[in-house]
Symmetry: C2
Subunit: 302 residues, 2 copies
């Protein structure tokens, strides 16, 4: 088993889904599994940890990986190895790295925010190829981001760079779970879109249904997505002028919804962006599919 030491167990922890994969030396994903993140009443820190460990056991079995690469919904603290994901309330200052070191005592555990790996993977192999300054963006239960500038991943000192969901876009906007006000996430996350549509009388069940309704031209659904797209466009513009971005790659469930979200997002962005250097930005859907997170996490860990 001379190559076994090069195996990476990669883990992608979001508020909605947990994904784990085994990535070989060439970056190929040889095993991959997804399951829902435990949530709701009675789910405590140990329950989420147990689900993560069970998933890892299932995917990598009794392997001898020397690296466990973790992408986790933010905020994270790369220095202490703890995580406090806004949308996984059971975990506050949860010692994720220590939990994974217990699971695989011989392995090196590497922690990043949840979207940096996607950004890295898309930059190397996907829709971000050739970009000089890239933001990867995932719209799901929360909204996360990751930066690749001048070809290099930018984790930031605490591992939280790219956190676009908590960029404020409205001075007196809605209170956010993060403690701030008017964050992009209060307009454009899946739950925020659902809540807004329901306030306007929409009666559907979930985000995919909301997307379908918008695609069918249902006015409340269309207006809800326009509102979300406008706030997200303002957040992207903030990132564009601060980081001189030339590309945004949008992943997550919403990217699968395609142009029903991306078209209003592009329109809102070009309505807002005045400066020429900001207007060159392209907003494109992710290309690598659900494996991007584990591919990127493994690439970052090497």
């Amino acid at each position: 088993m001379s190559t076994s030491g090069a195996r990476v167990a990669a883990l992608d922890i979001g508020a909605t889904k947990l994904a784990a994969g085994l990535v070989d030396r060439d970056g190929a994903v040889t095993r991959f599994t997804v399951r829902p993140t435990p949530a709701g009443e009675g789910v405590d820190a140990a329950a989420v940890r147990d689900a993560v460990v069970a998933l890892l056991d299932e995917v990598v079995g009794g392997g001898d990986e020397d690296v466990v690469a973790v992408a986790c919904a933010g905020p994270v603290d790369a220095a202490t190895g703890t995580v406090s994901p806004v949308n996984i309330p059971a975990w506050r200052d949860f010692p994720l790295v220590r939990a994974l070191e217990r699971w695989r005592p011989t392995a090196r555990v590497v922690l990043h925010n949840d979207v940096l790996p996607l950004a890295v993977a898309e930059h190397r192999l996907g829709a971000g190829r050739g970009a000089q300054a890239l933001l990867g963006l995932v719209i799901s239960t929360g909204i996360g981001g990751g930066l690749v500038l001048a070809g290099e991943p930018v984790p930031g000192p605490t591992g939280n760079a790219g956190h676009i969901g908590h960029v404020p876009v409205e001075l007196d906007g809605p209170r956010c779970q993060c403690g701030g006000r008017g964050c992009v996430e209060t307009y454009a996350s899946g739950p925020s879109m659902l809540a807004h549509a329901r306030q306007q009388g929409w009666r559907g069940a979930d985000v995919p249904e909301l997307m379908a309704a918008a695609r069918a031209g249902e006015p409340v659904a269309v207006a809800t997505i326009e509102r979300a797209a406008d706030a997200l466009a303002a957040g992207i513009l903030a990132a564009a002028v601060l980081c001189d971005l030339d590309r945004v790659v949008v992943g997550g469930g919403v990217a699968q919804a395609g142009d029903v979200v991306l078209a209003p997002l592009r329109r809102a962005y070009h309505r807002r962006a005045g400066l020429e250097f900001a207007r060159r930005l392209e907003i494109v859907p992710a290309a690598l599919g659900p494996h991007a997170g584990v591919i990127g996490a493994a690439a970052l860990a090497r």
Copy 2:
């Protein structure tokens, strides 16, 4: 003259002031002059260029610098060597690099946004020492910024990274000269503060007088600065969550005003920032004084 090749003529072009300096091999500023930027009716592109060249002639005389390092109010286009500063309307796609190559045909001309040099200088020698992720910020006629991340200057592909003045903080905010809406600059630049105070009935002459009035507790002046500080705090928070900042160094005329601006800015920031990693940010005044721009421009050019 064996060291003459190491001399850098450094130029700092803002909407209010032009500064030029001669920087020796050790980074010491051996000559330095400031004069007002030509502005107003009848000032065309050539008039601003002539003022710049006259200033350079005055400062460096008949020297034989091999580098001309330029920090210019943004946006700039580092690739084409042109500049279109929002607050210097006479220059639109102005070929600044070509103009300086004509002035000193043997020199290499290096162009950056106006605040990156300050950020670099403060990071190496001033109030930014030890910061892992730094935003340099200047509040003047416009509001500019520059990023130093993981110890390295981040100019961005077009030289415009750090452009915090055009971060949108209010979805339906005031129209900005950049073509956008609700930009930080529409609340917190010197002219925006003056315009707002006057709308509220204040009768003073200029920004230093407004600062003095706020220091004396005059309610309109205090409220104007609170409003500006709040919008700027939202912009800083955007930068903090996107770039995982641990420090902001504030320079320019307003930094000289000191705590009358910095205290409300810090309060507003800490009222807005919820996430722990964002709350660690420190907001400090620049330490190097008016030479920072030319010191940093020379450092960047080497």
